[in-house]
Symmetry: C2
Subunit: 386 residues, 2 copies
């Protein structure tokens, strides 16, 4: 097990009706907030009204930043920073999924930075200070509600880049599973693919001595596999929504990564796809993951795939290579059964772009640590997945 | 899944050599500390010298409280509070296992309380404020390094009582698995029994809709079962010590309890045993647990024991009741194979005391939520275990 530091002071307020604690939580930090949300689904399902009523009842002033897109744009961040400064705001409250929370985080950091917030992503600037961020989660997927990560897209440069800072961990996040009842089956499935991909990136690690963490990875995967079909078929099944929501948080709050040399190649490749094509991150991951697995599987790491086969899919009593292949096929079939696409061409990706995406993916060096990938490897995976 | 709030800001600094970060961590909070430790094992294995050197090198003043016993006494707490006041100390640094950390926590709380610290345990006083606590862990067992719990014994009243407060979560804890190399096989086994018992108390819960948490419980149990024999046979096996150490922390840092109606009857019964007899908590738990399982198993909760049998012990293709019985027998056999006693009489408990212990266990009402136990139930379990 590798040495690590684990420190996640994020507060999770979980369950139906827990929004009632929102006013008190905000007032620990602020009386003036920026309310950040997406393209209006929270207005249709009533969450917006509920939040605004709480802000009003608690005498909390708010300015609004709406229209944050699924792959959130640096333009939204810039606008949010401006609003915070103009209105002397003290906390950024994200109401939405991971994109909205990511956007809120960079607004919070941008507030204290005199340059352009894209500088954080080009590594020209470092997050040194940030406004407190709070979140009301409406989608089980990214885990952004309990980590310091943010991924932002730049339409101008057609780039999608991420960063992480402990300063950006939301001070609190309200997780009400009923808020995900209106999430469509396809979005639910994409969210699950995102959760599972986070786990894969940490499960398929370069070191194999973190037994405990691997078993916890399998716990999260089994939860996704068990409940995703239920949530897609019965959108208002509380047990399914609750388990998926907590799974999304635990998948990426740092625990699974403790003591491990994690991979993240699939995520890096996917970022290049959704930088060019505005597809859901989870959809891109669902397409790429089985091909990545096929591509990286070797005799040396076969044992890890066998563990995956046995402990996650219950595949036993077969030749080891056969078990690994079956597990990969199960993974592919699982995503497909949830209605997710399984080829890049299905989501409008053009074959001519693959070369460009592969080149950009390795711009800062090779990818992955479970198996290191150079540009040719990435291109091969993209071609397989095309 | 029940509503919950999860908030654990404890910082874990994990791995060989991580003690090098101790000076910096302390200086975030204090320049004057109380160094709390046990009966001298840290002097024999060199950890004391290492810590003292770091304190000196960093110009940190320290007073010492030594001799904290395995079932820590309220007398030690009183002495620690006095030392903190006399020396204007600003942080309590525990170097040891759970007992030392528990003692440090109540010293930290007692510092700000004008009455006697035992009042916290009789519920005459509430922890309102506490000095920061830091920990250097030397035993994988209680999980005290990342929670706000403390259990203290009162020799005068022959009581052993616990409390929990988020104010008592250590600000930081250094977890170096090599610090447990000198822990004897029997102590190692008792620690593992403690970890597993923490998991059982949360796994065998009154609600069954926290699927994710149950799978994580199984992950921790499998880790204990896998590595305990290795750590007992090869005390300096880093992988085993590391996995057990991190398992001890995750077993009781709040995550497993999220969304669950947990039990804790076995712990409450054990406290009455170790209040009268100075036996290791883990030993008492190892004895009681299989009997508790046998006693509470009914047709209604059989399914949970079947899950335990299948997912933890790999028992399949049998009649359900048979699977449950086998799993309980496996549990008993596992503890026995580690050299732990399996009867109360083996550790010197007198049959005449069982009645008294049972009565005191239910003094504040019935125990347990997986299955509620009244005085007769507790007495029956104690008699079975005698």
């Amino acid at each position: 097990m590798l040495n690590f530091v684990f420190h996640n002071p994020g507060k999770i307020i979980f369950g139906q009706g827990q929004i009632k604690m929102l006013g008190e939580e905000i007032k620990k930090y602020a009386r003036r907030v920026l309310l950040v949300y997406g393209e209006g689904s929270i207005k249709r399902n009533g969450i917006y009204d509920e939040v605004v009523k709480i802000l009003n009842d608690n005498g909390i002033f708010y300015a609004e930043l709406s229209g944050v897109k699924p792959n959130p744009r640096i333009d939204s961040v810039r606008e949010g920073v401006k609003l915070c400064r103009e209105n002397n705001l003290e906390l950024v409250l994200a109401v939405g999924g991971g994109s909205v929370i990511d956007c809120a985080k960079i607004i919070a950091a941008g507030f204290y930075y005199t340059g352009d917030p894209w500088d954080f992503f080009t590594r020209q600037a470092k997050v040194e200070k940030a406004l407190p961020v709070g979140a009301v989660l409406t989608l089980a997927a990214t885990g952004s509600e309990m980590n310091g990560n943010a991924v932002i897209s730049n339409e101008e440069t057609r780039e999608k880049k991420g960063l992480g800072s402990p300063l950006l961990i939301p001070k609190f996040a309200v997780l009400d599973p009923t808020y995900t009842y209106t999430v469509s089956p396809l979005q639910t499935a994409a969210g699950v693919a995102d959760i599972m991909s986070h786990v894969f990136e940490q499960y398929f690690s370069a070191n194999n001595d973190a037994y405990l963490q691997d078993r916890i990875c399998e716990a999260v995967l089994k939860t996704c596999i068990h409940y995703a079909p239920i949530a897609c078929a019965k959108p208002d099944n509380y047990e399914a929504r609750a388990n998926l929501m907590w799974a999304s948080t635990l998948a990426l709050n740092g625990i699974l990564a403790t003591g491990k040399l994690t991979d993240w190649a699939t995520h890096m490749i996917e970022h290049e796809i959704s930088a060019l094509y505005d597809i859901a991150h989870g959809v891109g991951l669902a397409i790429l993951t089985p091909f990545w697995m096929e591509y990286v599987l070797t005799e040396e790491n076969l044992a890890k795939f066998v563990l995956y086969a046995v402990n996650v899919w219950g595949i036993v009593d077969k030749d080891e290579k056969e078990m690994a292949d079956m597990a990969i096929e199960k993974t592919r079939g699982f995503f497909k059964a949830l209605g997710l696409p399984s080829r890049l061409r299905e989501v409008g990706v053009k074959e001519d772009d693959l070369e460009f995406m592969a080149a950009r993916a390795v711009e800062n060096g090779s990818l992955g640590r479970f198996k290191e990938l150079d540009k040719d490897d990435v291109l091969n995976i993209l071609k397989m997945a095309f």
